[in-house]
Symmetry: C2
Subunit: 154 residues, 2 copies
DNA sequence: GACAAGTTATTGCATACGCAACTAATATGT
DNA sequence: ACATATTAGTTGCGTATGCAATAACTTGTC
């Protein structure tokens, strides 16, 4: 009797299973490529870029650690360490929240803003080859719509 | 003079930047949720599930380490350790390749096959809520098509 | 106003992963 | 044929991250 096998009639090729597999793979390849390119051109890790972007988009110009953790889909513990590193590099600053002494506001610094501008400029170039050359504007709109639905609210 | 700022006219809201951000976020939330559910119901980490799935889909019933690394989008070093763990659990087996003595074939074991069947069954239930409830069959087909284009060949 | 229960952030610990260096085997070019 | 280049896999090392426990604070209830 052999110790291995590759039979099995289970739906390993099921359309939905394939779809999420494809989503995971596409994300992995794209984030790997874009992350390497961003690191190469700007010396900025992708997770740092994500943090800076979330902060710039924030209404008041700052977010709490929890909000940032949720926005970047990290644990709060991971976010603490991530912000530690970005803050040590001078790109963001922690500030005490005036209305809740447990909370910490994270804001982007002037230096962080400059870095983000530089990174966005490079990122857009990379996106040209990796995204715009592969999907038309209307396909991108459709994809945005479908991903928004898929993401859900949780 | 303040040390922080949140101004900046750069295209942080650019349609393409938003799209890849959405892709990353959707992937993170979905893989976190599905991974936790799979771990909960089958005690199987998502990366292990991915490996087993890739092996079952492989033509000959086995893949080399390099093929597996590419299929799962990991480094070869990471794949070595990953297979170490899955092999220690008895779900896959390394075999020497008859035609190339550098290469190692990885095959799914009987036990791995059973585990995969169990996991697929559970996974399909989870996909029902997380995917099928959010996208119609035709939307899923469109999404598959767009992601395939976006993934590219690299 | 005091206490219980929930929330916010940080820390210790464990682990998974990538990179670069290395070894072994194979392919290529002259 | 032999030297060189290429490829396959493993290992050492560094690091990023999640989980669970903890401390500080807030909120709701009586």
């Amino acid at each position: 009797m052999t110790t291995t096998a590759h039979t099995g009639a289970c739906p390993s090729g099921d359309e939905r299973v394939m779809l999420v597999g494809l989503l995971f793979e596409t994300n992995a390849r794209l984030s790997r490529a874009l992350g390497a390119e961003l690191e190469e051109s700007c010396d900025l890790p992708l997770p740092w870029f994500d943090v800076l972007l979330q902060l710039r988009r924030a209404d008041e110009g700052h977010l709490t650690m929890s909000q940032l953790a949720d926005a970047t889909v990290h644990s709060t513990g991971g976010t603490t360490r991530l912000i530690d590193r970005i803050e040590a590099a001078g790109l963001v600053a922690r500030q005490s929240c005036p209305t809740d002494r447990r909370a910490v506001h994270v804001a982007i610094t002037v230096q962080g803003n400059e870095k983000l501008n530089e990174a966005l400029e490079a990122h857009l170039v990379h996106l040209e080859c990796r995204v715009a050359d592969r999907l038309t504007k209307s396909e991108r709109a459709t994809l945005t719509e479908l991903l928004t639905k898929l993401k859900g609210d949780d």
